[in-house]
Amino acid sequence: MFGYLQIDKAELKVREYEAYQSVYCGLCRQLGKDYSVFARFALSYDCTFYAMTLMALRRSCSGFDDGRCRFNPLKKCKYARCEDDCYRKAAALTVITVYYKLCDDLRDDGFFKRLVVRLIKPFFSHCRKKAQQRFPRLDEIVGNMLKAQQKVEQSPQPQMDETAHPTAVMLAEIMRAEGRDTMEERVLYECGYHLGRWVYFMDAADDYEKDKKRGGFNPFLLTEAENLRTVMNEVLSQSLARSYDAYNLLDITDFKGILDNMMLYGFPLRQQKVLAVPQGGNT
């Protein structure tokens, strides 16, 4: 995942922002505990969102503890207390996604980047094995995504919808695993599917210029639309809208303010930032 699943800080209440940070810090601490100090660098907003969603769905956050940041002992911070394995699962997802991202980078990036990737890969490979033992299903889902993605990119004439499908299914399956009954599973699947689709197209829109120059694969290169920016915006907006509709059917009370903020403000804000970057193409 790519760091698009963020909050809009300006629209949050201060206590909500503190709660968000305490989950972020909690996840960071878990990465240190379960893997190692270096794994903390893999901490991402996406996985914080995942940890927060898990805690909201399971209602397993029971309060906040005071503590200090491990990187900066002068800084005080709070840790959200969690009664089950939400952090552990989110930490596992973090290292698993980083590992597969590195595998993917080996395929198409430049010589020097590949060299760096080769150097750090063994470490994450080790972490991923640990994570795989704890959560085999998570590893399977992410691994399947990468395989399916490579297959789509190599197919002769992929449709735009097809290119986003693997990432969308990945998030859909990850979310579905949290359902307590078939109805909730369906809602979570739909919510995850469209959010995953959104993330994929966000990444594609972000990399459009780079891929165009370097001849990389990009789904937006498949369309010959004149007003590419408008098309991107519409594709992204529709995915968010459909994800939000499904999200609305979930019974969430914990962290609701924060998750609402992400859905209604945080994600659209990222979308606007990505689309506002000057691009060489038509507007």
Binding site: D161, S237, Q238, A241, P268
Partner: protein
């Protein structure tokens, strides 16, 4: 039976006004229009039913004998007379998309009329393949511009592509989205102004 107050998300000692407001918000949220063609239409309908029942129950408990104001949720029904794709429609209604697509794909080229494209679009839509859904709906509308079923499906897709849609018009970001150029200089200024006001409040 669920606690009706929990369903509406209000405390048992909320005023009648508060309950009415909570009910209205939820009814708006789960309104079938927001879930037209969605694979989750039935879930939304179920939620709407819960909300309506809870509201009725609270009203009865409070012995006001008011009108219930229950909104009849109709969902999408596909019964407009005879259609050679009836089996496909039934598959779609039951969320059996692979089966529906099988039947559609085995239809010979020359029998692929407007309805065929509409149903194909519906399959794509259910899967979340918005781009192909849009193309198919558009083809259906072009082939048969007078069919209101095809037109409304096409409109739903288009409405979702802008933020001025259903539950999604609550944010302040629904202006100026059509050009895709989010943050203007004005926004930055007003943001700074807000920030400085905030700082002053904290006494910094």
């Amino acid at each position: 039976m669920k606690n009706p107050y929990e369903v509406l998300g209000v405390s048992p000692d909320a005023t009648d006004e508060e309950i009415k407001k909570a009910y209205r918000n939820l009814a708006k949220k789960y309104h079938p229009d927001n879930y037209a063609n969605s694979p989750l239409a039935d879930v939304a309908e179920e939620k709407m039913k819960d909300v309506n029942e809870a509201y009725d129950q609270i009203n009865r408990m409070r012995q006001k004998g008011k009108g219930t104001g229950s909104a009849a949720s109709s969902g999408t029904t596909y019964n407009n007379g005879y259609s050679k794709f009836n089996s496909v429609r039934i598959f779609i209604q039951r969320n059996m998309i692979a089966e529906a697509e099988n039947v559609l794909n085995s239809t010979p080229q020359n029998e692929r009329d407007a309805e065929w494209h509409f149903l194909m679009g519906m399959c794509h839509f259910r899967k979340g393949w918005n781009e192909q859904a849009k193309t198919e709906f558009q083809t259906a509308v072009n082939m048969d511009p007078n069919n209101s079923e095809f037109r409304s499906a096409y409109q739903t897709v288009n409405a979702q592509r802008t933020y001025n849609y259903g539950g999604y018009n609550t944010g302040s970001y629904n202006n100026g989205n059509t050009n895709g150029m989010g943050c203007t200089a004005c926004d930055v200024c007003s943001m700074m102004m807000c920030a400085s006001v905030c700082c002053r409040c904290c006494g910094r």
